[in-house]
Each structure stands twice: as C-alpha cells, then as structure tokens.
C-alpha cells in the first residue's frame, strides 16, 4: 500500500527550484511516478516543458542520471540506454538493478514521437514510458495536438468568428498502446495520487515495456487559476472525460468509478479554452462532447466486463 508517510521519506529525484510554471501538472506527474520505485532510475525526456524547465545549463533539477536528445525520440533514446544496460549487465560490468523511464508530453508522444514509442514498445525494452498529457503543445505556446479535445481553443485551433476551436476529437492514445500487447498500460491522474503511484509501481515492476498516460492540467493553456490544478484533474476523472483504468496482460480493469458522474459542462466552464462553447451558437458542441464521453465510457465498461 502506498502511504504518504513513506513517500515523504524517499530520496528526492527531481529537486524543487526548477522553472516550471506555478500549478503545472508536469512536475507533479514526474514526482508521483518516480516515487513508485526504490531502485535507481535513469530518465530520458523529450523536448518540452518538463525538459526545458528542469535543465537550464549550468543548472539541473535532476538528482538522477538524465538524458535529453530531441523532441520525437525519448522512447528510442531510452531504448538505447536500456539496451546498453543489458549489454553491460550480461558482461558483468554492472551489478545494480536499474530502471529506465522516458517522459514526453502529448506532442512528443501522441504526435511526433508516436513512431519511436510504438517501435520501442514492440521491441519489448524493459522501460516505462510516461506521457504527461496537457492536451496541446504548451512549451511552444499552446498549439493544438492530437490530444487536444474537441472544441478547445488553442493558438493553432483558435476559436474564431467562423470556426469554434478544434474541430476534431482527441486521439485515444492509451487504447492504441493497449494494441501493442505490452505487459502494462494504464491511464492515471495526479488528483488520484494513490492510484497513480500504484500504477507506476506496477509499470516499473513488470518485465518489459509499460506505458502510462497521465493527464497533466496546464493553467496557462487551459486558462484556469493555477491553484485549481488538482481540482481540474479530479473533475476530468469524475466527469468520465479521463477515466482511470489499467490493462495488465490484456486484462482491462477500471481502477476508479465515480460515485456520481459530473456533467462535462461543469468542467468545461472552469477553463478559458472552452469559453466560446458557451455562446448559444456553439452549445451543441458541448452536447456532442458529452455524447462522445458517454459513448467512450460505455465502451470502456464493456472492455472491463462491467455494466453502467
């Protein structure tokens, strides 16, 4: 069982004093994931907020070995590191058990890095890939990604007088990753930290690749007050927008079921990126979003062998 008392005693892997924005979900994601193992960890990060804000030379916020190479190749870079480890271990040059983790935002994971991720997972490297999904290219100034939800206004899918924000649904990356038939795939949220740390711990323990998709609210991009990050993350879960589940060796399991589903409208209302949806001519999009969520939820329940 994960306990806060134990967690606070753990050695720090990401130091405070990094330059991520107040209220940013990314460092919370990173800390929660890294709490989940007591083994030494080597981390690789894709170009993005978490990378630029933690390694501004000559400083680094990382207390563990770290590598950044480029935007789209965190998975392939870490697959090289993990393979090097196996090569040296085989020769008896390394004794320790080391864990390998790659972090990427939704840009580096859903979009430009999808191929490298898919390749690394298929090859079966013993690594954990974590996507901190803040639903747009936040590091370059809030441009839409394939993780940006329907209707959201971003700087490349702006809400205008003719077009009401992003016209497409978000990609279901977690589902794509389950199709890789890897030992462990899960979706988590920083609002449900116990659930997330438990999932990360499973991800580190399985023999082979694991993928975690973690919703990472962004006050700047989502347009909400930075103190609300955890609340926003929580309501994404209770509205079934971001269900918490895991797929272990093809076995689907819902890890949290909201007692009462909260309407998506309430969640959208709290974020400036959806403001335009509340104009009378756009409210039908809110209904559309609600329909998508309900439909996806029903499908998920079926996969988990549950009834609504």
């Amino acid at each position: 069982m994960v306990s806060l008392k134990e967690i606070v005693k753990k050695e720090r892997k990401l130091s405070p004093g990094h330059r991520l924005c107040p209220g940013c979900g990314a460092s919370v994601v990173a800390n929660m994931i890294l709490w989940a193992t007591d083994d030494p960890v080597v981390i690789g990060i894709a170009t993005g907020c978490l990378e630029v804000s933690t390694t501004i030379y000559p400083q680094t916020a990382w207390e563990i070995p770290y590598i950044h190479s480029a935007f789209e190749n965190a998975a392939s870079t870490i697959s090289g590191v993990e393979t090097a480890y196996r090569a040296l271990k085989k020769k008896g040059k390394i004794k320790e058990n080391i864990k390998f983790v790659a972090f990427g935002g939704d840009g580096g994971t859903y979009d430009i890095g999808l191929q490298a991720l898919s390749g690394a997972m298929e090859r079966g490297h013993n690594m954990v890939y974590v996507c901190y999904d803040n639903e747009a290219y936040m590091n370059t100034g809030i441009q839409r990604s394939s993780a940006t939800p329907l209707g959201a206004s971003t700087t490349t899918s702006p809400a205008g007088s003719v077009i009401p924000g992003k016209l497409q649904k978000r990609k279901d990356l977690t589902y794509i990753m389950t199709a890789h038939k890897i030992p462990y795939v899960a979706q988590g949220s920083i609002s449900h930290w116990r659930d997330l740390v438990k999932k990360a711990s499973k991800a580190f323990e399985v023999d082979g690749p694991a993928f975690l998709n973690v919703l990472s609210p962004c006050p700047r991009g989502w347009r909400y007050d930075s103190k609300l990050t955890i609340n926003i993350a929580k309501e994404a879960v209770t509205s079934n927008f971001w269900p918490l589940y895991e797929v272990e060796n093809d076995n689907w399991k819902l890890t949290y079921k909201p007692k009462e589903k909260t309407p998506i409208e309430n969640w959208l209302k709290k974020q400036g990126r959806f403001k335009h949806l509340f104009k009378p001519e756009n409210t039908h999009i809110i209904d559309e979003i609600q329909n998508y969520i309900d439909n996806d939820w029903e499908n998920l329940l079926k996969k988990c062998g549950l009834q609504s």
Partner: protein, 393 residues
Amino acid sequence: MVKKHVEVGTTAVAMAMRQINPDVVAAYPITPQTAIVQTFSQYVADGKVNTEFITVESEHSAMSACVGAAAAGTRVMTATSSAGLALMWEILSVASGLRMPITMINVNRALSAPINIHCDHSDSMGARDSGWIQIYSENSQEAYDNVIQAVRIAESEEVRLPVMVMLDGFIISHGIEEFKTLEDDEVRNFIGENKPKYSLLDIREPVTHGPLQLFDYYFETKRQQADAIYKSRSVIEEVSRQYEKLSGRSQPIIEKYFTDDAELMIIVLSSTAGTAKSVVNELRKDGLKVGLIKPRLFRPFPYFELAEALKNVKAVAVLDRSCSFGAQGGPLYIEIRSALYELVQKPLIKNYIYGLGGRDISLENIRSVYSDLEKIVKTGRVEKPVSYLGVRK
C-alpha cells in the same frame, strides 16, 4: 596471420564489425547498406558477437538509440545509406554535440528525388557540417581498415566525436574484391577497451546529458566542439600510423599517386580514384606528367596537406560525385579552391560534377579530364570552371 578474402564490400564491413564486437548496434536496413545489417544479424544469431542488436523501426530511432547507448557508456555502431542518413539528420548533430563516440558506416547512395538506389555522395556531403568526422574509402580493403580505425579515433580522449566511414554503394558494397583481415585478437587489442566518460549508468555520479544552453553557454560548447574536430587530425594520423604497423597498410590523410612531378592533377574521393589511377598509369607510359590525389578525410578537411601537394601543379581537376545546388561548384571543389587561396602561385582549377545516381565513370571520362587540363595549361585559362562529366545534353 593475414587472412585473404574474396567477398563483397558489405561483408568486409560486417567482418570488421564482428571483430570490433560492439556492445550495441542499432540499425535499420536500407539499400545498399542492407547486407551489412543482414550479415551482422547472422553473427548475432550465431553467437559470433555478444552485441545487443536493436532492430529499430527507422534510422531516426537508430541514431537516437545509438546516442542513448553511447551516453550509457557502451561501444556503439550503426550503418546506413542515403534516405536513412537524411532521416538521421537531426540526431547527427545531437550525437556530435553531445560528443558521443559512435561509429557509423554510410554506404553512399543518391538522395531522392528522383528515387535512385545507386552511388553518389549527396547523402554524406549533405551531412558534412553535422560535426562528424568523415572518412572515405576507395575499396573494400580501405572500408574494412577505416571502420576499425574509426572506433579508436571516435573514442580517443582528445576527440570524443562520432565518425562516419563511407564506401561507394554497389560499386564497392556489392562488388567482389580481395581484401585482407587482421586476426580477431589483433583488432581487439588495437581498439582496446572502451573507457566511457559520464555514463548514464553511473548512478553514483548522476549526470545531466543534453541540457538547454541558450545565448550564454551554447557558443562556448560549439567552439569546444569545433576545436575537437580540428584537433582530431593529429589523432587520426597517429591511429593510422599505429594501424599501419599492425596491418602493413598505409592510409595517409591524403593519398598521393604520382604527384611528385605532376603538372596535371585530378582530385577525387572513393572508388573513382581506382579508375583514375589506371588512367594515370596509362598516361605516365606516354610520358605525361599526370597525378592523382585521393583525400581520405573530408572532415576535418585536410587543407594544409592539399595546398602543399598542389603548390607546384599547373592545373587541377576536382571531381565531385554530388551537387551543391546553387553553389560555386561541388563540395570537394569549394573546399580545395579555398585551401589554395593562401598559395602565392595558384594552379588553375576546374570542377567536374560526375556520376550522379550511379552514372558510370569510365576510363575515357578520366582521360578526357586530363586532356582538358592539358588544354587549360596551354591556354592559361579555365573557360568553364564547373562542368558535368558523363551527362547527356
């Protein structure tokens, strides 16, 4: 004991890789490099090496995995061609910028479009400013020798840069030639143990690789990198000297063929040098003072050596197997012309673009170049500084 083989060039390269026995290879197959990856895979499958082979899903991931594995302190190799090298482009400069001693074989092939699988140097010439040391091989023997030396050069304490070894696609990669190999032990003793620095797997001394450097530090880092590749010249020469002692084969930075009294000189890279040598032999019998220079290194560029070798020459023809579109000539020509600038008495110089997309370069083509040079010397001027050799009008 010297072993002789009669095999295709890709086998010579794969044999060198087997003897090097790198910790990690990450590679993606592409024509004409494919046979290197296949032959090496068989070595892995048969336990002839204890390499971990990462069968990546692209060349971009091949180079990315090489960077990761090198940062983790292992000896790493890869091989590619053409589009594969182009796809790696972004990570080539990451590899050199992070000072990763990776050895890569590039089997030269034309870039698309139009798609073409045959030899020219547009792939590696496109990567000439990526911060990699670039070594060109004339034949299978040189490819074998260069691959082994590349490992030593890359990992040298003073260098710590990636090295790219070129051989001509199909002409050498698929041509059957005789070459000699060293004993496995000789190769392993020559390259020695890899001594990693700042390994990611050193968990007691955690290091951050690849931090963000802006206007306050980036410039100094790049300056150090420029110094490192400049200084690699002496390391390359020293490694070649030691390799010569071992193998009996001399591989200077520039190979000079009948240059002492030569008045007319051709400068060309790789396999075409072989063709040109036989024309030199022929014309020398006729009493013509012709010579040939084959640079082995393109990066760092051997400009001192070339200027020195050309100072008493009357006319020079530089043969480029790639086009630098919109430039004053091909990449080799531009560099050589610049190398001559300091000379008080400069030779006349002409550039030929030849052999694009594998267009054959014949003895007759080379003869015509020497005959052009004769005319240039007679008239004292170069009418057309850049022309095309062997192209239809």
